[in-house]
Symmetry: C2
Subunit: 262 residues, 2 copies
């Protein structure tokens, strides 16, 4: 019964459409065809990603190069969501993010910072850069730390890497502040993806490989959520103490098969 | 009444004996004389420090150079305490510490690591080194993270720096483990300092500038504890929600004056 009355699909990207690999990534078998079938069916589609190592433009170019029929206008990502919050609240960020993400903040006033925006800065996570972000925060009358996601780690071809959440915790502890997380599993982030699709939560399904950030987050917004058995999925996820997906599917193609049969 | 029946004094070092400064540090007025008076009085003395950027040998040399009559045998510091634990439990550490601390671990087997020891590594806190420590930990069947202190930050002449506690939190979160803290405010650490002095807690007084790690930690071991108004002391410490020193003193010299009058 979980596939009934669906009008829109939110898809996680890494681990659902493609796997990170040596040359930037390889598509997961059947996923490009599944995206085409979603579009042909008239269902609304939204890519809902925590990607912060590239602008949406470059991210979408990479996906198109792998054969996915997707456009920038279909992507909900943390950096643009953060820009919205910064403008709304008159915040001027100091950025500790990946070099390739900086263009997303081109139109934001960054003079005399009154907050810190933290992304998966990768090689930019240096001792000097972390101390600089810390000093700015601790020097603020009311420190504001905005974190683009709260992931613990991720896998690249040369091994596991600490994700933004680890550095977020370091700054939270040092400054005795609580970061505001933009991106999954933030409720506001899912809600903006739904608003952009024009679909209410009870008519949307989230499909992702992350039991906590994709499945748990979407369910808390009133959506149904599936976990795919691709990407970072592990069999132990099926015994997660707090989150239970509406269904498991082997991959995106299988999910789309079932949904389109309704 | 707090100065009665004292047989031993535990002294924090940075902020009590000297202040960190441009050329490595400047003695706090009256502290060198106070140390000499403690020794002349027959009171037992122990330096109880969380210093992890130098071996005890080099740390003591620096203090002697500033006029303090102290010896290596009088210092209780995290690295030797960690070595004791490593030997006791057959742990082989991967070290993420300051270069100058490495010699303290000379006699410890570091092949095929089954734990990570984290100190204030300063410039060694690189993205690559943090990922390496993380990968080793997450790859262990039962990850063991030993942290030499849990400080949030400290001040150097060129500004505030993130301390070991911030990096400890990052690794704790990424690996979903709880670090074992060696050094103040660990109860075991204070107890070994007391044992080395041969003085029971009720006959000892801790004197420090850190309301939580010095004062709170020592009191939890049954010692009396004074906060000096030097070093990192801040007036707001006097309203600390959880810790109340047995007394405040302006500096070490004043504490010794009062104690020796008994």
């Amino acid at each position: 019964g979980w596939a009934r009355a669906v009008r829109g699909l939110l898809l996680d990207v890494s681990g659902v459409l493609y796997d990170s690999g040596a040359d930037g990534g390889v598509p997961i078998a059947g996923s490009a065809e599944a995206v085409r079938r979603i579009k042909a069916s008239g269902l609304k589609l939204r890519l809902c990603t925590n990607e912060t190592q590239a602008t949406r433009e470059n991210f979408v170019k990479k996906l198109q190069g792998m054969g996915f029929d997707v456009s920038v206008a279909e992507v909900t990502a943390p950096a643009p969501a953060a820009c919205h919050i910064l403008k709304e609240r008159g915040l001027r960020p100091h950025l500790l993010v990946h070099d390739d993400l900086v263009p997303e903040f081109a139109e934001i006033d960054k003079t005399n910072p009154n907050c810190v925006v933290l992304g998966d800065a990768a090689e930019n996570f240096t001792y000097a850069n972390l101390n600089e972000a810390f000093r700015l925060l601790i020097g603020m009358e009311k420190p504001v730390l905005i974190s683009l996601g709260r992931g613990r780690y991720y896998k690249e071809t040369d091994g596991l890497k600490l994700d933004v959440g680890a550095y977020m915790k370091a700054l939270e502890y040092a400054c005795d502040v609580q970061a505001e997380v933009v991106g999954k599993p933030s409720k506001r982030f899912f809600e903006s993806a739904l608003a952009e699709m024009g679909v209410p939560p009870e008519q949307a399904i989230m499909i992702g490989d992350d039991i906590v950030n994709d499945v748990g987050g979407a369910q808390r917004c009133g959506m149904r959520a599936l976990q795919v058995r691709t990407g970072k999925y592990r069999p132990s996820d099926e015994n997660h103490p707090e989150v239970k997906p509406d269904a498991y599917v082997n991959n995106l193609a299988e999910a789309v098969d079932i949904i389109l049969q309704q």
